[in-house]
Amino acid sequence: MAVVALKPGYADAVEIRDRKENFHGNQVVYLHWEEHLSFCAATAFPLPPEMPLGALTEKLIPQFYGMHPDFKSLDWNSVEWKIDGEPATPDMSKSLAENGVGHKSLVCFRTPGLNGYKGSCS
């Protein structure tokens, strides 16, 4: 369905607020650690599309998820990835863009065997 508007041509005049061009060379990327819902929602970052995906595991995830008690047992080799809902095997040396991570993409990672505080998915 399309919007029912009073003003003729309203739909064509719409200014989409979060277009990639508005983020000063960055794109928005969302990260989510599955079965660890003490992080209440996926997290959002403005990242350059040319940034290597490995920077997520080396820098961002340790910085923002490292306080979880499960983090010290995390083995990156067994992590299962999903990019925009599809299972993925990302190449850590390649860029976000080359790995198919676009503007407002959601990158989920699951850590088999680690499913939150006392297995509660928290």
């Binding site: 029912v4 306080m67 928290s122």
Partner: protein, 507 residues
């Protein structure tokens, strides 16, 4: 010689003269030009005179009646202030519920005032036009009396002073704000359906009863008195809500699918906004009244069930996803409080972890969910606090494009998985917390692709800077005073000093 006295008119005649009698058909200008807003939504009205106003309130009676009510209210407020009522509340944690109300709800009263004034000019039928004019005045009075009631707390507690500024900027206040902006930017009939019917009729008890009973249970006489004062107005607003739905459905069969779509949309939007009230009831009241789940059962499942059964004769059915909302009644408060706990650094009120007694109360009230999914979360955080490693989420959350809440809601039937939904519109990806929010977007992507999402605005450089301290300044929030945990706050220090002084007096 004195002229013969005219016979006094009865109420019905007076009402007819002072409402319907004020209307006329324009002849120099086309009626469609004078009333440009009330047809484009596709709602067909064949006979405006069929509108029934059961209250038959005229403007002169309105002034007299409201004036009397307000004199009483302000007398109580004066006495509350003179007797240091702020010291008689159950616990200073309670005040945080009032902070949420003043920053989140009071500005909506003002928005409602503005938009009902707009409808009071732009609806072609004189009956609903007069009703909208009166409601516009009610809403302005409510905004004022709430501000006056709560101003007393502002003298003693933090977090109140910048409420209108905060309403326009703070991440969680964009939830009620965007709800109302959505309604005000819609046509008049959608606004009526959104605010008068879905919010004021179907869901209002879930907003006002918890706050007002919560106030009564926690010794806040000022807020209780405001609540009573507003109650008779609310009854009139509810009547307008149900009348407008029946009127639309009776006027033309083509109106049904449009009305149903709006009812579905605004029920879902209302349910998400009321998640803030759910959290207030289950976590923020030191003396609890009932759980959100119990309130939902009484005020939505039972009362709403009877209402929709009544409306089924017009072909209207229970709002889409009412079953999902009902399931969520045992989750939403826990999920929301968890959001505020981990983002306490950016909240304009104080947070805390529930104590043992409170955890047990929550287990009892939510036997199917709390111990399994949410108690472990709080226990983990408690352990971390004890080690001096209080859990803060230092990254910004992904927000729902429709309701603007951090996407912290789980998949229906599986509380271990976040319920991600997304859509693509004009090559851009959009994310939603639920199927309900996705459906709303998909129906009007042109509108919601313009949503002002705080997290993205920070990234775009529109919120004072990139650091938390910059954004707090831009919010007008004082670090370490307005935000963070209750424990260690200036509010707590003040409250403890009052309690110590009382003990001393009591000897």
């Amino acid at each position: 010689m004195t002229p013969p006295r005219k016979k006094k008119m009865n109420l019905k005649q007076r009402y007819a003269l002072m409402t319907r009698g004020l209307d006329w058909e324009t002849s120099y200008q086309k009626m469609d030009d004078v009333f440009p807003y009330d047809t484009f939504e596709g709602i067909k009205i064949t006979d405006w005179s069929k509108w029934e106003d059961p209250f038959r309130l005229t403007m002169d009676a309105y002034w007299k009646y409201q004036g009397e009510k307000e004199r009483k209210l302000y007398a109580v407020l004066d006495s509350f202030a003179q007797n240091n009522g702020q010291q008689g509340i159950s616990d200073a944690r309670y005040v945080n519920a009032i902070k949420l109300f003043l920053t989140g709800v009071t500005p909506l009263e003002y928005q409602a005032h503005r938009h009902f004034a707009h409808l009071g000019r732009h609806i072609r039928g004189v009956g609903p036009r007069v009703a909208a004019q009166m409601q516009s005045l009610d809403e302005l009075r409510h905004a004022q009396t709430q501000i006056h009631t709560i101003s007393h707390y502002n003298k003693y507690f933090d977090g109140f002073a910048e409420f209108p500024h905060m309403h326009d900027r703070v991440w969680y206040l964009s939830v009620p704000k965007s709800f109302f902006d959505d309604a005000c930017s819609a046509g008049p009939f959608e606004f009526f359906t959104a605010i008068s019917f879905a919010f004021e009729y179907v869901l209002t008890n879930l907003l006002f009863v918890p706050f007002m009973s919560g106030a009564a249970y926690n010794g806040d006489l000022a807020t209780v008195t405001f609540g009573f004062s507003a109650q008779s107005d609310e009854a009139r607003h509810m009547t307008l809500g149900i009348e407008v739905i029946k009127f639309m459905l009776e006027q033309h069969p083509d109106n049904l699918p449009i009305v149903q779509k709006w009812v579905d949309k605004w029920f879902w939007r209302g349910h998400k906004v009321l998640g803030l009230v759910a959290m207030m009831m289950d976590y923020m009241l030191p003396k609890r009244i009932m759980s959100w789940k119990e309130a939902w059962e009484i005020y939505f499942t039972e009362a709403g069930g009877a209402l929709f059964e009544d409306l089924s004769r017009y072909g209207l059915r229970v709002p889409k996803y009412a079953d999902i909302a009902t399931d969520e009644a045992e989750h939403i408060s826990h999920q929301n409080w968890a959001i505020f706990y981990q983002y306490t650094q950016a909240a304009g009120f104080h947070t805390w972890l529930p104590n043992d007694e409170e955890l047990d109360w929550l287990s009892e009230k939510c036997p199917n969910t709390f111990d399994k999914y949410y108690r472990p979360r709080f226990e983990m955080w408690r352990e971390m606090e004890a080690k001096g490693e209080r859990f803060y989420n230092n990254a910004l959350p992904q927000l729902c494009q429709t309701c603007q809440i951090p996407m912290g809601y789980t998949e229906p039937g599986d509380p271990t998985k976040i319920g991600f939904r997304s859509s693509v519109y004009k090559d851009e990806r959009y994310h939603f917390c639920s199927q309900g929010c996705k459906d709303i977007f998909d129906d009007e992507p042109e509108k919601f692709s313009q949503a002002w999402l705080l997290v993205h605005q920070i990234f775009q450089g529109n919120c004072g800077g990139a650091d938390l301290s910059d954004v707090l300044k831009w919010y007008h929030m004082d670090q370490g005073i307005d935000n963070m945990d209750y424990t260690g706050s200036p509010d707590q220090k003040q409250w403890d000093a009052w309690q110590a002084a009382r003990k001393k007096v009591a000897g």
